[in-house]
């Protein structure tokens, strides 16, 4: 059996056997904490994300959200907008501007259609000008958004449309990657419901494959916008 052969070769090489005891894990390792308050986390997040070409705005009302979303809609054609099923916290602002006959809306509800849902969803998303999602966490010291696919369908909406707009609740900000991983650990400790996909997004899509020169928007979104709400 391939598996046993391979494992036995490894055991022979490192001097273990099938009945060797489990190794003692290494002692924990932590970054020095900075203990920032929410204001500092927000400021740091904005600094880092803008540095990599993202756009970040603080919003305080659904009118502000509506105005921002409207500003992202293309003028030269009928907009196609995908909205994930988790943008519940800000629905009023988004619903207003999307309740417009010229706007075609795509949502993950389309995935439960009867006919070829996955293919139709895919093809619809490829036409989308804007994808709106929320996020589960955000990392301040790198300007990173964290999307966990447990119940919400956000992965493709945050990837395929040309522009990605993300609604970030300020209380979801953590300081650094170390803190994030502690939070993620909790999801994995629930053995039966582990998230099959977690995505960390830092800025728009980019490449430097031609002459080391950065070009933005290769396969992922060309623009990333983040609206931060819920500040104390």
């Amino acid at each position: 059996m391939s598996k046993e052969d391979l494992l036995n070769r490894i055991r022979a090489a490192v001097g273990r056997t099938a009945s060797s005891t489990a190794p003692t894990p290494l002692a924990p390792f932590d970054f020095p904490p900075a203990n920032l308050n929410q204001q500092s986390l927000v400021e740091r997040f904005i600094l880092e994300l803008e540095r990599v070409g993202g756009h970040v705005v603080l919003v305080h009302s659904s009118e502000e959200i509506e105005a921002y979303v409207k500003s992202l809609l293309p003028l030269h054609k009928d907009p196609v907008v995908a909205v994930s099923d988790s943008t519940s916290a800000c629905e009023p602002g988004i619903r207003e501007c999307l309740e417009n006959p010229t706007v075609r809306m795509i949502s993950p509800r389309d995935l439960v259609q009867v006919e070829a849902p996955a293919d139709n969803y895919k093809n619809a998303l490829i036409q989308a000008d804007l994808g709106i999602t929320s996020c589960d966490y955000a990392i301040a010291d790198s300007g990173t958004l964290v999307l966990i696919s447990s119940r919400e369908q956000q992965q493709m909406i945050s990837l395929v449309p040309v522009v990605h707009l993300c609604l970030l609740d300020a209380s979801r900000l953590v300081e650094n990657l170390s803190e994030l991983l502690l939070e993620l650990q909790k999801f994995f400790d629930r053995k039966d419901e582990t998230p099959h996909r977690i995505t960390l997004i830092t800025g728009p899509s980019r490449t430097a494959d031609i002459e080391q020169t950065v070009a933005i928007g290769v396969h992922g979104p060309t623009e990333l916008h983040v609206l931060i709400f819920g500040l104390q």
Partner: protein
């Protein structure tokens, strides 16, 4: 460099590289950009750089020393979350599994994320032979695939190509408008590849890190092609060699940072995907099937050699390439195989045999720059010396099982050459010792050499083809001393 160990292929290749002004310019450009980015990158880490490196090394040592345990744990966790695990002893087994799976699913098109392991096992060839199109989607890989070439760097596959090259390629092979504007070239590729992503049946990627405790594979990228390849098609296959294992989720705090800072000077790459098994509900987005191919392909041999085991700690950041004065001049193709640069010079002899790669461990001045920049503190110079000793002592008898071309034909001629070379070397050193031990012999020899140089010039094989032999002084220091002082 000891020319008796240089195989014709390597000499030819590096000479061609040195005489290629466009390649030299491209390499200089890369070096300038990566060396400028390095100090900034290190300063932006969340913790002291040295502390991170030490911890990374500690984690890798522990993981590799207990690899069987962590691999088993990883596989069980993947399966528990609805994924499939296939254990492949070698390239042939891995390719067979993947092509059989693709055929069984009626697949016509496979989209690929950048994966060095898939280059190593020549997966694209196997897929093509099975009637399946394998399309590279990373822009650099897409470019070299169009050109019919191998990548020339671990992370930046097309650094040897100028924008003009890419423009010509796109026009010739894809009928695109001819433009040398880089954003326009990227956008043309984007448009083409989006259609292919939507039509693809299978997405195939490598694995950057495999977390044992949660059964999670981690993939990093800037472009989004990996996210596309692992979201749109119905099936996702991830290929990983056994050493990609890290024990715990928390270990990612060290490795994700070190990888993005060392590979591209970025605090964080654009996208990190952490994939654990497969979706729960059929109506959710994402692939229906997830397969991980765990591949040996010679790693268990490497593991068994305590002097070379640390080459398994490599996280494929490419920093050693960027800092190597040899790589900086000859580029990746000169090395002749999948993995170039310092790490390539250590991996290739182990994976395809010392005999066919015996020039590589000698293609180094042992300056140690690779060791200094390596995020996992791999002592490459030490391993190069070890490989040199093995090669000299005829340890090329140990033929790696993965090599599919017989070394027997090369062996006897190579051994003869070796013996002649050894004898010549011994004689040369004996003569040198005689000269240096006697002042009279030294003076006489120096005077003789000076005369020969004046009349005929002096040539030392391998050295004076690219260097001038400095002229012997006339009068020499000793002659002046005798005249002025005595």
């Amino acid at each position: 460099m000891d020319s008796q160990n240089l195989q014709p292929g390597f000499v030819e290749r590096y000479q061609r590289a040195l005489q290629n002004p466009q390649l030299q310019r491209a390499l200089a450009n890369v070096i300038e950009k990566t060396s400028a980015a390095r100090p900034l990158a290190m300063a932006s880490a969340s913790d002291d750089w040295e502390r991170l490196r030490r911890r990374a090394r500690e984690i890798k040592e522990h993981a590799i020393d207990n690899l069987d345990y962590y691999l088993e744990q990883f596989a069980l966790n993947v399966e528990r979350q609805g994924g499939n695990v296939y254990w492949a002893n070698d390239a042939a087994a891995a390719n067979l599994y993947i092509t059989t799976l693709a055929r069984a699913r009626g697949a016509r098109l496979a989209v690929k994320g950048k994966s060095m392991i898939s280059e190593e096992i020549e997966l694209n060839h196997a897929l093509k032979a099975a009637g399946i199109e394998a399309l590279e989607t990373d822009l650099g890989e897409f470019i070299v695939q169009l050109a019919g070439e191998r990548p020339s760097h671990i992370n930046m596959p097309a650094i040897h190509k100028t924008r003009r090259d890419v423009a010509d390629l796109f026009t010739e092979k894809l009928n695109f408008e001819h433009t040398e504007e880089i954003p326009r070239l990227a956008s043309l590729a984007r448009k083409l590849l989006r259609e292919r992503f939507a039509a693809a049946d299978i997405g195939i990627t490598g694995v950057n890190f495999a977390v044992a405790e949660t059964g999670t594979i981690v993939l990093v990228e800037n472009e989004g092609n990996i996210r596309m390849s692992t979201s749109l098609p119905r099936v996702h296959v991830a290929v990983m060699s056994i050493e990609k294992i890290i024990p715990a989720l928390a270990d990612l705090k060290v490795f994700l940072q070190l990888l993005s800072l060392s590979a591209s000077g970025q605090k964080a790459v654009s996208y990190v995907s952490m994939l654990s098994g497969v979706k729960r509900l059929a109506t959710d987005e994402g692939p229906e099937e997830f397969h991980v191919v765990i591949l040996d392909n010679g790693r268990s041999e490497m593991l068994a050699n305590p002097d070379l085991r640390e080459s398994l700690y490599c996280i494929r950041c490419g920093a050693c390439l960027n800092s190597c004065p040899v790589y900086q001049k000859i580029g990746g193709h000169a090395y002749g195989w999948v993995y170039p640069g310092p790490i390539g010079s250590v991996l290739a002899p182990q994976l395809i045999g010392r005999e066919k790669t015996k020039d590589l461990p000698f293609a180094s001045s042992l300056c140690g720059a690779c060791y200094e920049v390596c995020p996992v503190k791999i002592n490459i110079p030490k391993m190069l010396l070890h490989l040199r000793a093995e090669i000299k002592e005829g340890a090329s008898e140990q033929i790696a099982p993965v090599s599919n071309i017989s070394d027997q034909q090369l062996s006897s001629l190579a051994r003869l050459k070796q013996r002649i070379g050894d004898t010549a070397e011994h004689s040369a050193f004996r003569a040198w010792a005689r000269i240096m031990n006697s002042e009279r012999t030294y003076r006489r020899t120096a005077r003789l050499l000076r005369l020969v140089q004046k009349l005929f010039g002096l040539r030392v094989p391998g050295w004076t083809s690219t260097r001038d032999f400095p002229p012997f002084a006339e009068p020499s220091f000793r002659e002046q001393w005798d005249k002025e002082v005595s």
